[in-house]
Symmetry: C2
Subunit: 349 residues, 2 copies
Amino acid sequence: MSKSATSKVKADVTLKDIAEVVGKSVAAVSRALNDHNDISSNTRTYIKQVAQEMGYTPNLSARRLQKRSTDTIGLILPVLSPRSADPFYSEILAGVTNESTRQGFDVLVSAHVNGMDESEMYHRLIDGRRVDGMIIVRPRWRDERLTVVAQRQFPHVVVGKPEFDDEVLSITDDMVEGATILVNHLIVQGHKRIGVVNTPLDLVSSAKFLAGFKNSMLQAGLGINEGLIETSNFTPKGGYRAGQLLLSKPEPPTAIIVADDIPALGVMAAAQDQGLEIGHDLAVTGYGNALLAEHAQPPLTTIQRSTYNFAEQACEMLIAKLKGKDVKDPPMVKPSLIIRQSSDLALWL
Amino acid sequence: MSKSATSKVKADVTLKDIAEVVGKSVAAVSRALNDHNDISSNTRTYIKQVAQEMGYTPNLSARRLQKRSTDTIGLILPVLSPRSADPFYSEILAGVTNESTRQGFDVLVSAHVNGMDESEMYHRLIDGRRVDGMIIVRPRWRDERLTVVAQRQFPHVVVGKPEFDDEVLSITDDMVEGATILVNHLIVQGHKRIGVVNTPLDLVSSAKFLAGFKNSMLQAGLGINEGLIETSNFTPKGGYRAGQLLLSKPEPPTAIIVADDIPALGVMAAAQDQGLEIGHDLAVTGYGNALLAEHAQPPLTTIQRSTYNFAEQACEMLIAKLKGKDVKDPPMVKPSLIIRQSSDLALWL
DNA sequence: GTTGACAACTTAAACCTTTCAGTATATAAT
DNA sequence: ATTATATACTGAAAGGTTTAAGTTGTCAAC
């Protein structure tokens, strides 16, 4: 019943306390501490010293109320599973957190819990003035998150390829190019029947990946067999299922490109369960160069994607924007191929 | 620039605005919206309806200033590397975020960036009143983080075994028992020379792990060879180095227990690079049951540790404490063994 | 010896919410 | 008819910061 705070004995030092000690007004103290130049440098250093001695730290709520900004950026993660398989979000978080901490900003993380729809989560952060800007990852078609921030004219930066990339700040790699590189690599290895396991189709990036695949297949004169195109989520299990489907076709592919490393692990497992030797009987490639890809058996050919750097830069862009600077999209990152045993006979001793 | 009433940008709705519309005082509106019972239910519902229509959302900074609490809990992560290898923190974050979001709390994440020492980071969050409580993970000996929060009498919960566990709230598994289970499992397999790769010794848990190892070795009458005890950080590379050291001994171990899954991967790699077949020539076990352990080659015998659940429960305890409830440590979780090929000949076909 | 400029402050308002201490009215008890 | 009690509100203060506008004093210029 009684929700009264138990104990908060610590008497917080306020500007008023300092003002009393130094014999100046509260305003003078505030302006001194904030390095305004209408305070003599003598008193300024004196005030600062006293503040230091008294252990003053500004009350952020008060400052925020007054300034109408929070120096905090928001990040909403999807429902995180107990054994979060997806290193993508770990890297996003690492990049955003490191960069914003470096710049004196805080990061507020929320999970998109069920029972609350996603735009509600965004309203909560935005309308409650909990954050000054948002980082939005893995943009989707007709993304309601983007609608919400657009309506509110709320500062945001997107990590990934947004639907209308001329309207929002974003940073991304070129997945069309990435898929192209993978397909060409496989074609050079002599593959002709190449299967695809794409990521969920509501993601804008999935279309890019598919486009890259189709372009290069057509360019190589190989034609496109729609029956060899499957979709998976970002789990090994999803990849496993998609792999099974592809391998049970009457004419199964000799190579499969998977649009993410994690489901690629599942595809490999599915093939191995059917007695196929990856890299020998079936080539598999991933996307992202997760740590798991390196430690997979066999190690997975993949595309390097610096998710961490994207997050860091996105954060930097957002903060710059919040500070009123003019920010432009960085150029799309050119993907680079990492060849490992899963797709290369030469590496297979 | 002008913030006139005709401005297209929706000005924020405040209690005052609502009060004007409904013709009541600001106090009445506040109390109505907060379900105080000294407002008639008629006006209460009316006020709520108007608030809803006007799109009112409380200004959190103002509320926090007044209430002197933030409904936010803090989590400081170590410097996160670009390719964060350690799933431990991902799970911690997932558990804390999910649980606190569920309870209407926010999570503030900071990275322990270099150039700022760790207790400074804590002061920043605590003295700046950015958060109401902290989750502290992987407690160390004479942990300065715990000193800071103890000095300030700042609410906190520890995930892991703290040095003085009668003084702080904590949740942990029984690593003494965990190590014991592993050693006994190996002894049953016929191993006599068992090596150890421990986690960094500043962690309290490292002593527990070692104690479990030593106890069970002595109990089995095998004696302890201090030369077979190495230490590593939480990276594959660290494990690799430790593994090399152990395997280069005049009488190398036939089995190695590693106090964490991630360095265990490195140990396996080191052994494999020496031409040893894991599970056959050398048994290796890990700790934690990371996803990587399952997908390692060969799959890694390990101890199940529900980091996610720990984090979730820690968060629950912290919030309960913040609400003034009386909270007690949950019982230590009994570890369970997950046997995979890396330590079991029978599984090795 | 007035004017103006400048430095170094002070005062008061504002940011928005919550809560404490009243006040006014109606109802019930004596 | 008076007092007590409950209901439904109001006014003002408090929380700590920043800033716009004003004040004081000094010094220089004319």
